[in-house]
Symmetry: C2
Subunit: 285 residues, 2 copies
């Protein structure tokens, strides 16, 4: 496995692959891998000749009160895990490569980033779309693979790719979960032992929502109220939002008529967790 | 010469050239060609195997009071002119290709777009950088060539390309002028006969500024005052701005110490004209 730290070297490497007609699949990450990341890499391996994984904790997507400095990092462990699933290249740039002095360009996807986490974390998605666009220009992939755990991120990036005419396929993979149903996240390491069962009310809430939906309920308010009750009943939980949105526009829906997603953000102790479920899709847990 | 109207077709065409190792040079335009455009195409022809010229009057770079609907257009004439300098492909997309329903992504270069025309025309450069990025992703060029008549546009695009890590060379060419010194512009057709001599105070002002500079003056205020006097002395002129700026940051400078540009925007009758000169460079007229 190759480790590349510099933008120019990565571009030259990718361009040479493209000139040979090889296909590149790309998995952008902030590192501290779990099974969810590995699932993305395995999927990437199936569809391309070369799998590039980036590891970069992107400062522009963290707000001033977010956990940028304490975000978990372990490069050596990540390297071994990526190697175990036969990733071909790790792109691991330093900050001054990505945001040099006088940096001043940002990409903004205006509407789908307004609701949900975009409301709670203003400027977060501006940072996400900007770093993804930069990475796409550096890695030059044919495919880029994202987990749907970050559903709004996935939708925002798809929107950006469509709007800016990037010649690139965005692929979204189902959320990978722990045995108990908790969505895998690098931030799960923050959870204290006695908070774990409270964290399970997120998946519990999603299952409950699907059950109410399956029973015929279509009013968002009714479904949300029941999920809210469940999550509030657990210790340490502090709900940021529970919303039901159209999967394309991410606007709130009053009544579920077309494809809709229920999305949650809940603080459990000091740890902010998110999860989501598209009604009618399989909910593995 | 090939005319392509659809994004997918243009991308496929460019990708096939790239796979053959061919170099693509790109000249983005809003059409209504003059000698300035042809100079860009001739330069493009020297450096690449394929010259792609786009013709698209981009709505997002016009403000509500700007001349979008009356901007001059003549596709058949443009086609013949591009053919005369052996352009290979004209990319001529309809509006619904470029900005379909639900379009919502914009690129913003934050600092170099604040001063000069960015101040007079808020959101103008957001439209310019967004359409250029889209076109770069569609045409996939190795080189893109811009006229330095639009100096701030040239700087903003260079900044965007650097910041977003586009693997693309931006080339700026010197302003092409009429025999009397007026900078070529598609908007010159708006000028009434009796306004033409007033329009020449722009190049007159730049020459005066260079002369004062050559005589040793370095205070921006002193140079600007003399240029202002000259332009105000002509009929029909209404100064939008006369500024001396650092060529990298485009911030105003008080005293000229490093490379600086004098930039003008002047309404002559109903027509807004711009021009500029980098001190110490050749001023052909």
């Amino acid at each position: 496995m190759k480790v590349i730290k510099f933008i120019k070297e990565m571009q030259t490497y990718s361009e040479s692959l493209r000139l040979l007609g090889k296909k590149i699949a790309f998995v952008p990450t902030m590192g501290y891998f779990h099974e969810g990341h590995l699932a993305l890499m395995k999927e990437a391996k199936k569809m391309a000749d070369c799998v590039v994984v980036s590891i970069y904790v992107n400062p522009t997507q963290f707000g001033p009160k977010d956990d940028f400095s304490k975000y978990p990092r372990d490069f050596d462990r990540d390297l071994k895990m990526a190697e175990s699933v036969k990733a071909d290249v790790i792109f691991y740039p330093p900050d001054n490569e990505m945001y040099p002095a006088n940096y001043q360009t940002y990409v903004h996807v205006e509407r789908v980033t307004q609701n949900l986490c975009g409301f709670s974390r203003p400027s977060h998605f501006r940072g996400v779309t900007t770093i993804c666009l930069k990475l796409f220009n550096i890695v030059k992939p044919h495919f880029a693979i994202f987990g749907k755990k970050d559903f709004q991120q996935y939708i925002a990036i798809k929107r950006m790719v469509t709007d800016l005419n990037l010649d690139l396929h965005i692929i979204g993979l189902a959320t990978v979960r722990e045995a108990d149903g908790l969505a895998m996240s690098s931030r799960n390491v923050y959870l204290k032992e006695n908070e774990r069962s409270s964290a399970l009310t997120l998946i519990g809430g999603l299952k409950l929502a699907q059950n109410i939906y399956s029973a015929g309920e279509r009013k968002a308010k009714v479904i949300i109220r029941e999920v809210e009750k469940l999550i509030k009943s657990a210790d340490f939980t502090d709900i940021d939002y529970i919303k039901i949105c159209d999967t394309t526009t991410l606007d709130d829906v009053g009544e579920i008529k077309s494809q809709a997603v229920i999305a949650l953000a809940v603080k459990v102790g000091a740890t902010r967790l998110i999860d989501n479920h598209v009604f009618g899709e399989e909910l593995k847990a």
